[in-house]
Every structure is written in C-alpha cells, then in structure tokens.
C-alpha cells in the first residue's frame, strides 16, 4: 500500500484518528472554517459524546467521520485506512461497512417494512436474500423489535422507528455507530429508552459516537468532547 508509511504512524488500535483536520467552506470571496485543526483519536469500544452549540462544527465533524464529507486539509484514518484519499466508491464502501448512522429524524424509507429498511445496507454490501433476512432479523431482535418486523414506519411509534434505525445501523457490524441527536425527535421517556439501548450496545462491545447538545444525553457517554468555533474546547472523561 502506498500509504504504508503514514499508516504505520497511526495508532494501530484506534478506530478513528484525526490529525489537524480542517474543513473550510468557500462562499464567493469569503470562507468559513467549520473545523480549524481538530486532533481526535477514538479507540475501539469507546463511548464518546460530541457536544457543542449550533455552528460549533459538530455536524461537519460528524459528516467527515461518517465519510459523507472530506476534509479540506488534515488526515483521517478510519481503521488505519486513510479516508482523505479515498474515491467516491471507496467512501461509499466505508459508509456501508465501517459506519452505522442513526439520524435525528430516523430517515427510514416510508414504503418499506421495518425488515426491508434494515436490509437496505446489506443490499449494497451484496449479500443474498437469505443472508440479508437472517442478519436483519437478528438486528431487529437486538433492538427488541422482533414482533414488529413487517410493520411500515407509519405503523410504528417514534421510539420504535428509532430502534429500527439503530438496527439498520448495526446490521453490517460497523466499526462505529454514529448517532446525530438520536433523541432530538423523541419525548424524554422514549429518549431514555433509546439511550439505555445505546448503553447496552456499548456493553456488548460497540464503539459509539453520539452528537448532542443535551448534557443528560452526553452523560451516558464515558468521554465528552466539546467543540466551539471549529476547535476542540475540552476532551474529558465523564
């Protein structure tokens, strides 16, 4: 591999390693640095919360970690692979294999059953029908929705929808689960249930990154990173 030298520098056990990460948006003659120079390392089985005001750069950071966006400068290693030089295809593959997304608005496909929604990432992995079914079913069992597999999103409650989304994120056995305000559209008791689900997923050995602006959500994590104006303000164990 041509990046072998750089890869060797990277901490070999880290799931995510960011070095001097910068993301600059150019708007005509002006430009905005959403991220200035972020250094961050996330080890396997860590449970991390990223906090910050709106405009602090946490969404940008999350998009870059999720391989949806590329940094303007700096380096990003995901499982010791250099994301900054991946092409579109490789990024799509990374999103499919290494990342599991949980969105604030669930983002389930409305015309499909819960089971079919959970199967979507596996279609892009190229799994056959039978394997997809087995894995999607077991992911739904993990989130406690074995009895709702054939329901469409419109027939499910908000908490159940978010569980389906979590199952969808888990189904490919990703290296990290990335959750963007996962309880933002839920009432507090359902939100707590989802956070309990996250806690148990962490106990089962998953690596989690939760982006939130709520302290009590961040308190579930074992490490809190605070962002402000594109820089890391603090990084501490909770």
């Amino acid at each position: 591999m041509k990046t072998a030298a750089l890869d060797a520098q990277a901490n070999t056990s880290a799931v995510i390693r960011l070095q001097g990460l910068q993301r600059r948006y150019v708007m005509g003659a002006e430009f905005i640095d959403a991220l200035r120079a972020v250094d961050l390392t996330v080890e396997a089985n860590e449970y991390l919360a990223i906090m910050g005001q709106s405009g602090s750069g946490k969404s940008t950071l999350m998009n870059i970690i999720g391989c949806l966006d590329r940094p303007t400068a700096g380096e990003y290693w995901l499982n010791q692979q250099r994301v900054s030089e991946m092409n579109d295809r490789e990024l799509a593959r990374a999103r499919n294999q290494a990342i599991g997304f949980v969105f604030q608005t669930f983002n389930l496909l409305p015309r499909m059953t819960a089971l079919a929604n959970v199967e979507v990432p596996l279609i892009y992995s190229g799994l056959n029908r039978k394997d997809r079914y087995v894995r999607a079913k077991s992911a739904l069992e993990t989130v406690g929705l074995a009895d709702r597999m054939m329901h469409r999103p419109s027939e499910l409650s908000g908490g159940q929808r978010q569980r389906v989304a979590v199952a969808r994120a888990l189904v490919t056995n990703p290296s990290i689960l990335l959750a963007d305000e996962p309880t933002g559209n839920l009432d507090s008791s359902t939100g707590n249930e989802i956070m309990k689900l996250f806690d148990s997923l962490h106990e089962q050995g998953n690596t989690l990154i939760v982006v939130t602006h709520e302290q009590h959500i961040a308190d579930h994590a074992e490490r809190i990173v605070r962002l402000s104006d594109g820089d890391i303000l603090s990084d501490q164990k909770s």
């Binding site: 998009n63 999720g66 949806l68 966006d69 579109d88 295809r89 799509a92 593959r93 999103r95 499919n96 294999q97 997304f101 969105f103 983002n107 496909l109 015309r111 499909m112 979507v120 990432p121 279609i123 892009y124 992995s125 190229g126 056959n128 969808r168 490919t172």
Partner: protein
Amino acid sequence: MLITETIRISLMSIRGNLFRALLTMLGIIIGVGAVITMVALGTGAQRAIDEQMAALGGDILSIQSSSWFSRGVARDQQTLTTDDAMALAVGSEHVSDVVPEISSRFQIKYGNKNFNLTTIGTTPNYPDVHGFTLAHGEFISPADNSARRRVVVLGSEIPGMLEVDAALLVGQKVQIRSITFEIIGVMEAKGGSGWRNPDDDIWIPLSTAQFRVTGNEFVQTISAKVSDASTVPMAMLEIERVLRREHGVLPGKDNDFAIMNRKQFAQSRQEATQVFTYLLAGIAGVSLVVGGIGIMNIMLVTVTERTREIGVRKALGATKGNILLQFLVESTILCLLGGLLGLALGAGASALLAKYAGWQTVVTSESAIMAFGFSAAVGMIFGIWPAKRAAGLDPIEALRHE
C-alpha cells in the same frame, strides 16, 4: 444480484404511486400504440397489394388505343383491331398468348331481374391468360367464336345476384341488350385485382360482340401474356414494332396505342405504400419521443421528491452507480410497461379498424419487437439525465432536504 434488487425497488416505487405511473406511461402507451397501428395498417395495405399481384398471374401487358389530342382536347380513338391481335400472336416471339377484348356495360335480363354488367367479348384463351378457372360448364369455344354464337359465361358473383344456384344456370337463357344468349358456363371466383372486381363480369364470344351486339369491329384492349418475366422490356419493344408496322405509323410520329405493364404499376404502388407506411410510423414515432419527454419530466420530479431517500441510501453505502442504475431501471421499467400496454392498445386498434373500417391490418412480431425495443431505448435515453442528477446529489445536502 444487485440488479434484481434494483428492479424490485423500482417496481415498489412504481406501485407506490400507481396512478401517476400510469399517467406517466400514457405518452409511451399512445406512442407505441400509434406505431403498432400505423405499421399494421401499412403492412395490411402491402399484403393486399401482394395478393393483387399474385392475382394478376403472369406478366400481362395491356395494350390500349391511346387518346389523341386535337386543339388541346383529348379525344378517344379506336385503333386496335382483331388483325392487330393476330399480328402480335404471329409476329412477336416473346409474347406467348394474345387476347383481344371488347368491353361495354349492357343491360342484362334474367326472368324479372335486371342488371347493368360489364360484358367482355373475347377469345377462348381468355381464362388461361387471365388466370380464371371454370366452376360449371365450359368457356367460349373456337367454334362459338367463329359461328358468332349467342353464348355467355358468367362471373362467379352473378348466380348470387340472380339468386339461382350456379350449377342450375348452365343451359338457361339470359337477355343481353334484348338478345337472347345461352349460359354455357360459370367462373370460379378470382378476387379483386385492385382496379375492379372481375367476378361480376360476363363473357361472350368476340365475334358475337363485334357483329351482333356492338356492331363495332375495333377492340379496346389486347392482353399479351409474356412467357418469361425477364423478357418484358423486349416484349414491349416487339409489340411496339409490330403495331407501328400494322398501323403504318410513320417514323417520328407518336404511337396510336399504349402499352401498360400492370405488374409494374402494382410494384410502384407497393413502393408508394411502403414509403407511406414509414411516413406514418415516423409520425407515430414522434409521439413516442414526446412520451419519452413526459417520462423524463416525471423522473426529474421523482428525483426531487426522493432526494431524502437518495441521501439515506448514500449514507447507508449506495454508490453513485447504484443510484444511477436505480433511476435508470425505473424509467426503463416505466417505458417497458408503457410499451406493453401500448402494444395491447395498438393490436386492439388494428383489430377494430379491420373489423369496422374494413381495412386490412397485420400486426407483425417485427413491429411489436421494434416498438418495444424503441420504448426501452426511450426509457434509457430520457432516464439518463434524471438518474445522473440523482446520482450526483451531495449526500449531506440530500439528507437535509425536506
């Protein structure tokens, strides 16, 4: 594997919005239906001409007196005689048979029934040359002709007009221009040759027609059968030479007769029909293109509507290629479904036209395959732009889309 999934997803999204899918397909349905119907009409017309050509039998040249002009006014003249026919039979080696014909419409009476029918005075070799066979009785014999006998042979539709069984008519009497004739035969049906229906004609001996009925010795038409189709041009030159000599036409003067090649005429008609078919199919094809634009329009709307879905799919690992394929497959499926319905519409319309308008229509598998392939191509071509737009969406923007 992925392609079957892609097709499944497309079918699901089409089913999710079935009414709109139908409206979208309407353009293609009408386009394909129109192409199928037009080609069916054209093919039918072509087949009709083919049948007429087959009915024309061998290569028959038709020689007629030509009109001449006097002070700018066309006047008929009669120049052909029985002698000309004899001269052709003897003096032209490429012509195997010659039939002189006189035809007029006369009042025919049978019992209390009265018809105005084309009566042809001709020679015994007429059925051979024109491809007729007798159903009952006999045709005019050489003896009938030389004795100027009052005998008549009826076309196959005449018994029906007279409401008498054909077999019973032989030996009965009819009156032609108040002259009593004996029926000696009835023809087998031959079918139209495109100009006129020969099955309601009647035939009498040439000499009888000349000397007993019309009192006119000229013949209107001489049909010359050419033994070998490849020698038709030579036969025409030969006929011209013989007749100019017979008529004493001076060198440099125009012929006082005209030679027509019916088969050639039919062929040029066939070519004209073909051009017309292509023209009609082309016009119908334009509506297919318009239908394709309709598909593109709706696909663009669909891409906008499903921006969020595209973003989600990309976040879950779909590549640009996956998204491109999905939308391309969707528009192609729409067009193919439209093509299928259009095929049914076209076949139905063709059947209705054949039934109620009486036009001969033929839906060929070629035209079906062509229209179907064309609609698939329309789906792909007009699907490319929307699909590219979908594939090129930025996943972050797409996920934020409301």
